[in-house]
């Protein structure tokens, strides 16, 4: 590990200043991904600015609109087990509990979860080329080991996936990220925070250098009787990343879907809102035949790589089975 300086920020202004003053500085949350990447030499920050002790950043508060404002330093476990989250946003609890292990969730923060990097084996191996780590060096995953890579929205420069479970649930809940920079604050919707790789896979998100995630805000659930579910398919039952996952938020008016939101994980460089599938289903009844058509409409855009076409069928089946179960 390259030697680095450590500073604990006590307020947002000093955190932002610390990062602006040292171009090689990085914010440190729980460190469950960043520190691993430092050990591998993938990340080599000169300064770590710890933002886990910022005032109020570890709180979950009710908003006036009836939603929740989740501080960026709230741990993944604290968020998952919060009774308000479990009752009103069970899809978020479920997604969090499907991620990592108990120990990691105790350390990992909400802000850090959003900003974790891809687990692509070429990205994490500094002896290999990688356009995300070293722009212009090439993407060995295109023709190499890519069985767990993207099938949607990828480019010839990068076929990596975003590994977060939480972000997939937040995409279905249409959460908003609060961001603070030296020039002021702004909000960014999810989806919208994470970008597709295009020709610049080095940028995972639309954040500007030095901007800090301060909170994630949830609107009230779209309907009192909203049905929610997170399902994740992985190579073993626990402590593994998704091959494909799905987050669904569904409100039924009689037997019709008055509100439907579907987000997929493990298939793209960002949480993937299945808007084509949603459009096919919105306002109509939920039947297996209509679900199959909706999933087909979404997955038509898929461009699987040599060894991951199984994900197309998996995503299709996951959409159908999860919604059938949820609407029953």
């Amino acid at each position: 590990v390259r030697p680095f300086a450590y500073a604990r920020a006590t307020d947002v202004d000093s955190a932002l200043t610390a990062l602006a003053d040292a171009p090689e500085a990085k914010f440190l949350g729980g460190g469950t991904n960043l520190v691993d990447l430092m050990r591998l030499g993938v990340e080599t920050p000169g300064v770590l600015v710890d933002v886990t002790k910022l005032a109020d950043h570890d709180r979950i508060e009710e908003t006036e609109a009836g939603g929740l404002r989740i501080g960026a330093a709230v741990s993944n476990n604290a968020l998952a087990v919060d009774p308000r989250v479990r009752r009103r946003y069970p899809v978020l609890s479920e997604a969090l509990l499907h991620g990592a292990s108990g120990q990691l969730r105790n350390l990992a923060t909400v802000g850090g979860n959003l900003l974790q990097r891809t687990r692509c084996a070429y990205f994490t191996d500094v002896t290999k080329s990688c356009n995300k780590r070293q722009p212009g060096s090439g993407c060995p995953a295109l023709k190499g080991r890519h069985h767990n890579h993207a099938i949607l929205g990828h480019s010839e420069y990068c076929v990596a996936t975003h590994p977060s479970d939480m972000a997939v649930a937040l995409a279905a809940l249409e959460a908003t990220v609060h961001v603070q920079g030296r020039d002021g604050s702004r909000t960014i919707p999810i989806p919208g925070l994470h970008r597709l790789p295009g020709g610049e896979p080095q940028d995972d998100t639309v954040l500007e250098p030095g901007e800090l995630i301060t909170a994630v805000e949830l609107d009230p659930p779209p309907h009192e009787a909203t049905r929610q579910r997170y399902r994740k398919v992985r190579e073993r039952r626990s402590f593994a990343f998704a091959l494909v996952s799905v987050a669904v938020v569904l409100a039924l008016d009689g037997d019709r879907a008055s509100e439907i939101r579907i987000a997929l994980g493990g298939v793209a460089h960002a949480p993937w809102r299945a808007t084509r599938a949603e459009e096919t289903l919105r306002g109509g009844t939920i039947t297996e035949e209509r679900l199959t058509r909706a999933a087909q409409a979404e997955l038509e855009q898929a461009q699987p790589l040599r060894d991951n076409s199984y994900k197309v069928e998996l995503a299709r089946n996951l959409i159908v089975s999860t919604l059938l179960e949820l609407s029953a």
């Binding site: 998952a80 087990v81 009774p83 479990r86 479920e94 509990l97 499907h98 994740k232 039952r237």
Partner: protein, 55 residues
């Protein structure tokens, strides 16, 4: 682990995360051992031991 179960913390093996009480059945125990204790076949008896202690 038993403290978390007592406090009503769900896991991904919990059928309904909205429930206030967790039933500590074998799938719950196995999931909660994940990251703590090896879950390979040789350790199957640990599940039984935890069941016994928690009863």
């Amino acid at each position: 682990m038993l403290g978390e179960v007592g406090a009503g913390w769900p896991s991904h093996a919990t059928a309904d995360v909205r429930a206030d009480e967790i039933e500590l059945e074998a799938p719950e125990i196995r999931e909660r051992m994940s990251g703590n204790i090896c879950r390979c076949g040789a350790y199957a008896n640990i599940v039984t031991a935890i069941e016994e202690v928690s009863a």
